[in-house]
Assembly symmetry: C2
């Protein structure tokens, strides 16, 4: 199959096409959308070879190594999983045109709040080509046009995938638009396209998110930055604490819901610090600590934490440990340094747990569980678009329902305002 | 009472105080907040004379006339209504810490989504001093700190009102901060205070809203711009159409939910155009029209509508009329020109009504009712913060519930991710 992306279209033309498509998309029935999603999945599988060919071109062009290569790489099994993901989305319930609430005013006016598609959703992401397909599936299911701006490392893979998806019968022209990835100009146009774009979702590192929030004039859902804390209280079950700290730090250290900071109650620090430091170091974790931690972990290779450590998201096998006086001091420390993503308390004291759950101002707050559960799949949403760290529109893991807005349908019998 | 606003504090210091206050505010009980709101209302009434004195200083300084003067002016009755409005808010249910949904995952993890305060809410508004108190009441009720940036015409009134409100016993320091209104620098600082401000709500004219959306790096709820349409279908009850068109255009022409455009089905245009044009002109409305309207309204004083008329929000006794082929053409015209605020169809044809309600992409869509109902009070919310014309977070009239965010409280028994 030849790549069908038309490079001659300007960013603005693509945005106009997406806007025009959004009305048609919003009117597709759920059955029709699901049928098209299944065709998309089949077409991805049928075209696996030419997707792999495009992916090889990306790998040759950018010669990535390590984690970068892993993010960019596709193989037959990954393509199968991508197609399966689209089928999963087809099976999920369609939130659009659901009635959220409905009431009749004393004057007889009938008001119904219904979910509607957002309209045109812009996504800016980095090198993982599977994000291209995941995003198309979620936005299509919710009746939105999508404008994709992927990373340039994946440009051949993305062009091939979008060519395959847009050619599926029934996909309206403009429903899926892929922007030029060779420069930042397309990002700037996208995030300032007031009237054409209803929301932009940056999915990537802190630099991308900061650029988008600083420069966007369209609404943004901010995702991803995490500096997650675990507080081990005086009454904690220490075996449970070990299990949760090790899981949250080491199971997948490069993601935003991994633990980056460990706060320990001073009442158990003498017992707990040497024990957890040993376990962390045994698992290859670099450990930093405050003065008390250094003293209690004497004999272990622990570096002194700098002030900047408390606010840093390591995204690797590194953790900083601080000893403090109790749950209130933990809440205050978290209020000061956290990115409001996910934080956990390990305690057997229900009152402390309640206070922590209520007062810690983060998207997800855990009692006796790992921060790694902050994920759409783990929450039971069947999919995930990202983890919002802002307070507007949605907060925490989000998926289909959060790709909708609402409108009021109001029915009268000649009602006028007095 | 002396004005207690401390002019020595910088904008940044005020924002830091508001941020610090937000945690304390979020922990106040509903009973405690309601008690403080009643004290605020009483204090406003008790200090009516000194509020009027400050208001006279504003009137003398800016010497406004007409509608400008009416917006700025306070009198004993208006102060009584302002205080009554605060008591109304005290009586409304408190949405914070309500459980939105709650479920248990197959692995036993318990997840609860609860409403929480947004945190720090910034409001930028123009010359009406009652907005100062309305806003404080709504944000306080929902456990948010508020940072107010009112118009400079009302600066004495606002300073006095804020001094009265902040001195009410139980109001945490920093809960209500008033910014300098003499220049735009404070607006700029407010809308770029990432990490300190959770949302900014501009309430005012298109110029203000455009400045804020273009320059903000914090999340914004856009309010207000309206270019509302009424479509009179072929099967419309013309008496009903008259009543609704006259109400929507003339009852309060300077507001965002007033009708600005009238679309008429060609099948009834010959009969309806002369009739509605006469009624509008009789009520002092300036009428503009397309070619067909001009021909059918021959003998009446109707100006030719320019291209720019179709997108313009007049905010005064002026309307533009267009004749078109039917409901689909009306939907297409609205898609092109409306600001997605409020639109109405007048018809006896249920299928046309359903199509219009479903396909018109506006915050509120009416069938046989006036667009003037797009209002928090008329919707039954008991109050109104504004009318959102964006799709993120909230859309249409919004009040207390929309001044909250949510968080997930997750309870495990040592759960770790596999």
């Amino acid at each position: 199959m030849a790549a069908m992306v038309t490079p001659s279209l300007s960013t603005r033309d693509k945005l106009l096409r997406a806007r025009a498509a959004s009305l048609r998309l919003s009117q597709l029935s759920t059955a029709n959308k699901n049928e098209i999603l299944l065709l998309m999945a089949a077409s991805i599988e049928a075209n696996a070879d030419c997707i792999l060919e495009a992916n090889r071109a990306d790998l040759e062009a950018s010669q990535p190594v390590g984690a970068m290569r892993d993010r960019l790489l596709l193989d037959a099994e990954r393509i199968r999983l991508i197609a399966e993901g689209v089928r999963d989305v087809a099976r999920l319930p369609d939130p659009t045109f659901e009635t959220v609430s409905e009431w009749i005013r004393p004057n007889g006016l009938r008001i119904r709040k219904v979910r509607v598609p957002l309209g045109v959703v812009g996504i800016i992401y980095e090198s993982r080509p599977n994000v291209t397909v995941d995003t198309v599936a979620l936005t299509f299911k919710t009746g939105n046009s999508v404008v994709l701006r992927g990373g340039k490392e994946a440009c051949h893979s993305n062009q091939r995938l979008v060519a395959i998806l847009t050619q599926v019968p029934g996909v309206p022209e403009g429903a899926i638009e892929l922007l030029e990835s060779s420069n930042r100009e397309s990002v700037r146009e996208l995030i300032q396209a007031r009237g054409l774009i209803d929301v932009v979702i940056p999915r990537g590192g802190p630099e991308l998110i900061s650029y988008v929030t600083q420069n966007a004039s369209v609404p943004v859902i901010e995702t991803g930055a995490g500096n997650c804390h675990i507080f081990v209280d005086e009454s904690a079950d220490l075996e449970m604490a070990d299990r949760i700290v090790i899981n949250a730090k080491t199971q997948r250290p490069a993601v935003c819901n991994a633990a980056e900071k460990l706060l320990v109650h001073e009442g158990i620090a003498e017992k707990y610090i040497p024990r957890i430091v040993k376990k962390l170091i045994d698992r290859g974790v670099e450990v930093r600590g405050d003065e008390t931690t250094l003293r209690l972990a004497d004999g272990f290779d622990v570096a002194r934490a700098k002030d900047s450590d408390w606010g840093e998201e390591y995204l690797r096998l590194c953790i900083a440990i601080k000893v403090l006086a109790g749950v209130d001091e933990a809440i205050a420390h978290i209020a000061r340094y956290s990115t409001k993503h996910s934080e956990a308390i390990i305690t057997q004291d229900e009152e402390h747990a309640r206070r922590f759950l209520r007062q810690v101002d983060s998207a997800a707050v855990y009692w006796n569980a790992s921060t790694r559960f902050s994920d759409g799949g783990e929450f039971g949403f069947g999919a995930e678009m990202g983890v919002s760290t802002q307070k507007l529109h949605c907060r925490g893991p989000f998926a289909l329902a959060e790709l909708t807005s609402s409108k009021y349908e109001v029915i009268g019998e000649g009602h006028i305002r007095q």
